[in-house]
Symmetry: C2
Subunit: 417 residues, 2 copies
């Protein structure tokens, strides 16, 4: 049993499988008899010395985390700046680590978190404090560099493809006398990965979704409306998937077109709502839209088995890396082949991942800009393959585990950062 | 083998399990060697003599319909008026029935469809045409009279409860530094059945959803905002479920508060978007909202086993009724006990169902108006119990069946109604 404590923290938007990574981390550490603390609400908990003692969790609770969405210890949106600008915060982190004998720090997040983990490792080296920092990949946006895909994305992608297929069957059945145009808004502020995944819902020329709007392409409203109308005339209805991050030629987010309602109240924007209004005004078709919002990133009931396997694999690998003293690295997914799909975990330096953003390759978007290519299908399909249904209770709901975890007594003065 | 043809048609909004009813109808009729025609797009297909010959469907296709959402033959929103006002349409229906030797008419829909089926049976009797009309219940709104519950509702209710629970875990994990208020918009223009089902997502005092807005109660904005703020202060975040049909004291639908965006374009309304804007303006909390729209009624991937069983049972019973000559009736679900849940199918006259609407009993809504009671839980829980996942393919998507069905050659002149 190595001396010291492992600290695990979750960062940024949660996913359907980030707790599966946590579960794998806890299992791997227990197998090596390494005690694990978790920071409540991510790095904020580390700064506040608000730590949770996972030794109180039963084996069944840890196993249950693997099928529970959300973030078991809480997450946060807090980006630390440079070592110079946020010096006091980084030093506070080290003070907390020292106070609890934290020798391994696992930070489960995206490219911002990779940057934080990297900087913490640099400061520890500067102070001569023996600390191993390991990033653990997580994001539904699939925008991390180096790794072939990001745990969290596959399940959100599966949710998106299945939901769009189901809605399309609904619209197809009703279009003659009811809704002709249906618009589904997918998350993705900068990269259209989830919108692309919706493309898996259909395969034939006139299968839904008929039009996909990517943030990688400039949104041309007149062209879009003409295409919607043409699809309605040809197919009888039109299913549109719109990335929340689409922008017009002047760089304005379409989603930011919110205005005031008739009482002068703020009306919040949204791509789908905006497009629906334009379709109604300009084309006169009956239109419906859906905004799944957090449903798409928390739908553990429809997780992808591939995604779940990868989420757990990076958790296990992170513990192994850390205990082996591999500092400032992140376990990443390497794809060996598309069909049959084979992958393995490799280790990459955080410096190659921190603050970078991977957008969709150009050859994943069809030439006309409104659909995905065969190459995109080859890439995406394995990521949504396999089902990993959670156990359900006799009350008809998934047996999600929300354990109450014991806080660790504070050893330092309160922090007022 | 009885002489004649059975005509089956789907009506109104589709559900996750209306095709399961269709599947059961086709199986039961085949077992009795009765040929089945289906009207394309509901009663509209019957009027147009646009009929489909289900004899071309394989047994595997019919079985597959039971796990496929949407409406296999198409549905429609078309309410026939009184026998006097729409006389020509009713006579046309009879003409089509005669031309194709239709002796049994099964109309799968809600209270409007029950009314149509009843009127057709009356006209047939007046003309001395031997026809047996049977309504088959279907609606996610759960607002049909007589029956204890409606096939289609249980699956939409399960989707709602699971989705709200999943989103609540997401918000709970992020609330410290991100979204504090989350609003989920549920279908239900007149009755809050689906919003009530969301209440199953939590059980403890401070479990999400914290506030449910029912169309059965007047929406008081100031009271609502004060409660949201109180929950955020006490719990750290607040999950709201709002029925699309809530109204203010003057009878105005909250959802109709749409306005214009900054470009003067129509901005479509929506309860969740409106409430989100008010929370942001009045309380300043970061807010997100979800509008699942058709996802909630087409999510076959999350169907309730109880709902599926009942959808198939009413389909089988409808065929048995029809062939036994029980005219102007509808198979209904009778609840024998809550725990353990037992039910059976009974037969009720259409006259007791047509054009009626069942709202939620008053004692299902908590006294403060913002939650459900233990009685509501006892009623709702069995309806979402059991999982009936569809088979999934190696592409990660459900194997939904969309058979191409042979149209029946027309025997009458075209209809210009």
């Amino acid at each position: 049993m190595p001396a010291g404590t492992l600290l695990y923290a979750q960062s940024g938007g949660v996913t359907a499988v980030i707790n599966a990574t946590a579960s794998a981390v806890l299992q791997a550490a227990r197998a090596r008899r390494v005690p694990v603390l978790a920071a409540r609400n991510g790095i904020l908990g580390a700064l506040r010395e608000d730590l949770l003692d996972t030794s109180s969790l039963t084996a069944a609770e840890i196993k249950g985390l693997a099928h529970t969405p959300g973030g078991a210890f809480g997450s946060c949106r807090l980006k630390l700046k440079s070592l110079t600008e946020d010096r006091a915060k980084y030093e506070r982190l080290l003070a907390v680590f020292r106070a609890h004998d934290v020798r391994w720090f696992l930070y489960n997040g995206g490219n911002d978190s990779a940057d934080t983990a990297l900087k913490v490792s640099q400061l520890a080296a500067e102070f001569g404090y023996p600390l191993t920092c390991v990033g653990v990949p997580k994001t539904i946006d699939n925008d991390l560099a180096v790794t072939d895909c990001c745990p969290g994305f596959g399940s959100a992608a599966k949710y998106t493809a299945v939901s769009v297929r189901e809605c399309a069957l609904d619209v197809a059945a009703m279009a003659e006398t009811s809704t002709r145009v249906f618009i589904y808004e997918a998350m993705g502020r900068h990269a259209g990965w989830l919108a692309a995944a919706a493309g898996l819902a259909g395969a034939g020329k006139d299968d839904a979704p008929h039009l996909i709007l990517f943030p990688e392409r400039v949104f041309d409203e007149a062209d879009f409306l003409a295409r919607v109308d043409a699809v309605v005339k040809r197919v009888g209805y039109c299913v549109v998937v719109a990335s929340e991050g689409i922008r017009t030629a002047d760089g304005r987010f379409v989603a930011d077109a919110g205005g005031k309602d008739s009482f002068g109240h703020t009306q919040l924007g949204g791509v789908a709502a905006y497009l629906a209004g334009r379709v109604k005004d300009a084309l006169g078709h009956k239109v419906h839209w859906a905004l799944p919002d957090y449903l798409q990133r928390s739908a553990r009931h429809l997780a992808s088995q591939t995604d779940l396997d990868q989420a757990m694999a990076v958790g296990r690998a992170a513990v192994e890396c850390a205990l082996a003293g591999q500092n400032a690295v992140m376990p990443v997914i390497v794809r060996d082949s598309d069909t049959p799909y084979h992958w393995h975990v490799d280790i990459a330096p955080l410096s190659r991942i921190a603050n970078r953003e991977k957008t969709m390759p150009k050859h994943f978007i069809r030439k006309d800009g409104y659909g995905i290519t065969a190459a995109a299908r080859r890439y995406l399909t394995p990521l949504i393959t396999g089902e990993a249904f959670p156990p359900f209770g006799r009350n008809g709901l998934p047996d999600y585990v929300m354990p109450d975890i014991r806080p660790v007594p504070r050893r330092l003065p309160a922090w007022h950062g």
